[in-house]
Symmetry: C2
Subunit: 218 residues, 2 copies
Amino acid sequence: MESYQDTPRYLVSVDCVIFGYEDEKLKVLLCPRLVEPNYGAWSLMGGFVMPEESLDQAASRVLKSTVGLENIYLKQVRTFSEPNRDTGGRVISQAYFALIRLSEQDRRLVSSMGGQWWEIKKLPTLIFDHQEMVDESLRRLQQVAFTNLIGRELMPEKFTLSQLHKLYSVVFGKTFDSANFRKKILATQQLVKLDEKETMSSKKGAFYYRFKKNEEEQ
Amino acid sequence: MESYQDTPRYLVSVDCVIFGYEDEKLKVLLCPRLVEPNYGAWSLMGGFVMPEESLDQAASRVLKSTVGLENIYLKQVRTFSEPNRDTGGRVISQAYFALIRLSEQDRRLVSSMGGQWWEIKKLPTLIFDHQEMVDESLRRLQQVAFTNLIGRELMPEKFTLSQLHKLYSVVFGKTFDSANFRKKILATQQLVKLDEKETMSSKKGAFYYRFKKNEEEQ
DNA sequence: GCAAAAGTGTTACCGGTACACCCATGT
DNA sequence: ACATGGGTGTACCGGTAACACTTTTGC
């Protein structure tokens, strides 16, 4: 039984700001639009919400179908709902941001729809309000990075403190004192020092670290 | 011209957690539902989104039509979208939280629809996921109160530091050291000390303060 | 030996917390 | 005079910023 007769209904979509980290750059996945209007213009990964799924599930589905990954870090950013934001009709869109490990993406799948990773500071012109979605997502990411510890989702399995330091510098667009950075990071006790060293980028070599698994005692 | 044919459409609503402060209690406005299903059950103030308005505008309209106020502090909380959250049909709802000065409400309007203010810790059973909306809104309010300074919207024009202290105690459900509280609050430089004293609740009398207007130099 | 990155140590400062204490006044 | 809430001062602690310093190793 359905109540609420004669009430207007709307298209509802999710748009995902998918962040990845590679070559010491923070990147966002963009895709040429596959539908009119603005066919071919650069756009975030998105999709309409299906009748049997929640918005979170819709966003997960988009992630699965665009980069081939499941159980991804996903957070609501904000709902974008200006009546004329989409020139093709009224669409209310929930923006999400996602963090993925670039090495784990399904590159074939991504390229099959023309997906490309763009450095966040050098994006092309995006459709509608997608640039705003990216901007707000970055701010959220900074917020998260400030209180928690990012990297678990963006960095490879093992990494050096210098590499993590670099990630933070890129996310915030400024450099942190590296001595203080390592102390602060290690104080969180979320990292485990490995026996192995990374020797490519320095003569002395830097120890690898990895994030503790959830099971491991904090 | 309308693109996106054959794509499912949904009812979209906003639900507002309207906070007020009175008698040293944090209160939320509830209303008996005026529509089926669950006619008469306690519910947040809400409404469906109209074709020509954004979600923010819809929320503002709800505020205007329920407490008679405009230009109200309103923030998105989260979108609630479980397919079966509303037993009357699929409704995707954006939760908002609002802060108002209880003395300024249109009491006649509020009571005309049976609206009642409930102490936040003693709410009746709410429909659907509205309790969850309240819980998340309170958490947001605490977050805001932590970083900024709440009270501008909740307190009367002039108030004593003790009264503001009490508000914070109620919002966080714990007491703060009052000596430190006043120092911290005054350090923000957002308050102006008035010449007048409040003499009802103490023999010595406490000075009134008010918030600086935006124009005043910070 | 020197450059370059890894990693450690030292100091100063700032904000928060705890708490002792003084003030004004109605009863 | 004393109880009550208003209001101030101070000592301490922990986190952070700034920066000097040591270590390792390839060239």
